[in-house]
């Protein structure tokens, strides 16, 4: 994508802090910036508590930020009127992890998919029915399913309904929050196939794909951002980040992924301990408590500067050098 394309989603210096009754503050997202250009599929990866889901929800104003701005197609989602927000919501859809709890058990799937159109468009009657049928068929649900209720469908089929419900409004931005985590491998492959086809069939659709599963991100996304305790620690094209991770956390994460192969992996990096609580984010670099290369007096006191080791890449680490210093590489 060219740099002059409009940003579909622009997140700048986003803070999302949740005060607790105890007086502590959960710093779910901390000074996070991320831009999605029109037509891009970007993966947001991190472990539980990293804040990735909060970013997705805040992007669609399902959570209000404590600071920073979020713009969808140039409109500040936290400043627009409710009327404009309604229009915006048509164009920005979300799919959640558990399709079962995202569907009303008392609505047929045809009704569930129709609802958005009834609320937001003037389509009625036959035109409405046709549009809904087309969309359901396009995600692999033939017409015999259209009058069924969610409990009559399998998990994979329910997730197809959720995808159809999001696509029927012809969105420009789609946030997917762990859409395949509740599914079996063979069903996951079907859903991933549908999502990958979207990139071909709807080239202008921008997707933010949130997942803890690196393999799924690798398969689906063009660009990836790795989150740790509320911040993006590394960002870049998927192939580059996966083949040449620069941040020690990304390295550890990649080497921790169980690879379906019978050979031992040479690149093992094992992290000690657990992720610190987001109520008590470590000073300096948040990762220094588990980092194998952390240096005392630097990493535990000073937040690393944002470095750009290559074009399109970004890391948040004291020990990643800028290209000028990397002579000959």
């Amino acid at each position: 994508m060219a740099e002059h394309d409009p940003a579909m989603l622009a997140i700048r210096d986003l803070d999302v802090h949740f005060p607790l009754q105890s007086g502590q503050v959960v710093r779910a997202v901390d000074k996070l910036s991320l831009t999605l250009w029109a037509g891009e599929t970007v993966g947001l990866v991190g472990e539980s508590g990293s804040g990735k889901t909060t970013v997705g929800k805040t992007a669609l104003r399902l959570v209000r930020p404590s600071g920073g701005t979020i713009e969808i197609a140039g409109m500040d989602v936290n400043a627009v009127s409710d009327k404009d927000m309604k229009k915006l919501r048509q164009k920005a859809q979300i799919i959640f992890q558990d399709p079962h709890s995202s569907l009303n058990p008392r609505m047929t799937i045809r009704r569930a998919v129709s609802e958005g159109l009834i609320l937001n468009t003037s389509l009625r009657g036959r035109a409405l029915r046709e549009r809904v049928s087309e969309t359901l068929i396009s995600v692999g649900l033939p017409s015999q399913f259209h009058n069924r209720y969610p409990h009559e469908l399998s998990g994979g089929q329910k997730q197809r309904v959720c995808i159809a419900r999001a696509l029927v409004l012809d969105p420009d931005l789609l946030v997917l929050d762990e859409p395949t985590s509740a599914l079996d491998v063979s069903v996951q492959a079907q859903i991933l196939g549908i999502l990958k086809d979207l990139r071909r069939d709807r080239p202008s659709l921008t997707q933010l794909f949130i997942s803890h599963n690196l393999a799924v991100i690798r398969f689906l996304c063009e660009r990836v951002a790795v989150m740790y305790l509320g911040r993006i620690v590394e960002e870049g094209p998927v192939s580059e980040v996966f083949e040449d991770p620069r941040h020690p956390y990304t390295r550890a994460l990649l080497s921790a992924v169980p690879v379906p192969e019978a050979r031992a992996r040479p690149d093992r990096v094992r992290l000690q301990g657990d992720i610190p609580s987001p109520t008590d984010v470590p000073q300096g670099c948040a990762f220094h408590t588990r980092c194998p290369i952390a240096r005392k007096g630097l990493c535990d006191t000073t937040l690393p500067p944002l470095r750009r080791p290559n074009k399109g890449r970004m890391t948040l680490c004291h020990f990643v050098e800028e290209p000028a210093e990397m002579s000959g590489s």
């Binding site: 063979s186 990649l254 379906p260």
Partner: protein, 333 residues
């Protein structure tokens, strides 16, 4: 060859439901040598958890009904044992850990108290409190729980998921069981924590000589710990092979389908093959091979019963067409 530690023969189990008889497990045979680490792999509903639980009397009957077969632990038949006798087998000879460590710890008692109680119960009361405490601390050390002395006094909610799973592994291993059954032990954990627990499991197998059955839906997870893999589909074992063979020469079309459906974290892929169709209805299962309706190679002969047969050393597959398909594949280069 040593006597198998666990020997399951032609085991079948049904659930009696209002809709009819649900054939959860059909004619499963599986044997395990001492010191082996077996991965039992399959998707939701394939019967992997029911099999290992039913073998040790953990599936209530009714609704479950064992319709045939035998389960022998070191030559001793377990089916038909009294509840009391089975309780002694569990805990002392066979220990289990499960997916969600939180559910298996009592939230209102300290970790130490629960460990001591478990160890004393496992011993049938022969071990005193003090001795139990020293065994418990020793076990916490063995599972690399950081600051075992401090965690001993902690409540479950004060521990992270990974630490809780370590506590449960310590509890399971305290009685020095011959067999450890780990049912999706890392599914609820984050990737970096999962890696730590898998390292620990591999260490238990190689250093302590634990015999392990690890149940997982994830072939990648199994590959980190196990040396042998049994693949289950719709209540049957379709393939049983050494780890490397499963990945390098998968013989059953279902195993091949599972591998092709798996996204690879370290490789760019344009396309994932998915397995068409859905699981058969086990209230009215098809005749013969249960995978046939979804199989790309299916033929008339697949309606006949499919026994497991050897195709290489320690490699068995339940597929009638194996030779034919293999020949075709070789002919196509």
């Amino acid at each position: 060859m040593a006597e198998p530690l666990l020997n399951i023969r032609d085991f079948s189990l049904v659930f009696d439901t209002f809709d009819g008889t649900y054939r959860a497990i059909s004619n499963v045979s599986l044997s395990l040598e001492p010191g082996e680490a077996l991965g039992l792999v399959g998707e939701t509903g394939c019967g992997k958890s029911v099999l290992t639980r039913a073998a040790f009397g953990l599936v209530p009957s009714p609704p479950a009904r064992i319709t045939g077969g035998s389960v022998q632990l070191q030559g001793r038949e377990l089916l038909g044992l009294s509840d009391r006798a089975l309780r002694q087998v569990r805990g002392r000879e066979v220990a289990m850990i499960f997916q969600d460590p939180t559910t298996y710890l009592n939230p209102v008692f300290r970790i130490g108290t629960q460990l001591i109680d478990a160890i004393r119960a496992q011993s049938g009361g022969r071990i005193g409190k003090l001795e139990a405490k020293s065994i418990a601390l020793d076990m916490l050390e063995k599972v690399h729980l950081p600051n075992p002395d401090r965690q001993f006094r902690a409540y479950p909610h004060e521990l992270s998921g990974g630490m809780r799973q370590r506590v449960l592994i310590a509890m399971a291993l305290a009685a020095k069981p011959r067999l450890l059954i780990a049912d999706e032990p890392t599914t609820a954990l984050d990737v970096t924590i999962q890696a730590q627990i898998l390292d620990l499991m591999a260490e238990l197998v190689s250093d302590l000589g634990i015999t392990l059955v690890m149940i997982s839906h994830d072939l990648g997870v199994v590959a980190q710990v196990c040396s042998r893999v049994a693949v289950m589909y719709a209540g049957t074992i379709v393939e049983d092979a050494p780890l490397a063979r499963v990945f390098d020469a998968p013989a059953h079309p279902y195993t091949q389908g599972l591998l092709d459906a798996l996204p690879h974290p370290l490789r760019a892929q344009d396309h994932l093959a998915s397995i068409p169709g859905t699981l058969p209805d086990l209230l009215a299962p098809p005749q013969g091979c249960l995978f046939a309706p979804r199989c790309p190679h299916r033929a008339q002969v697949c309606a006949a019963p499919v026994p497991m047969r050897p195709i290489a050393e320690s490699h068995h597959v339940a597929c009638t067409l194996y030779d034919e398909v293999r020949k075709k594949e070789l002919a196509h280069g």
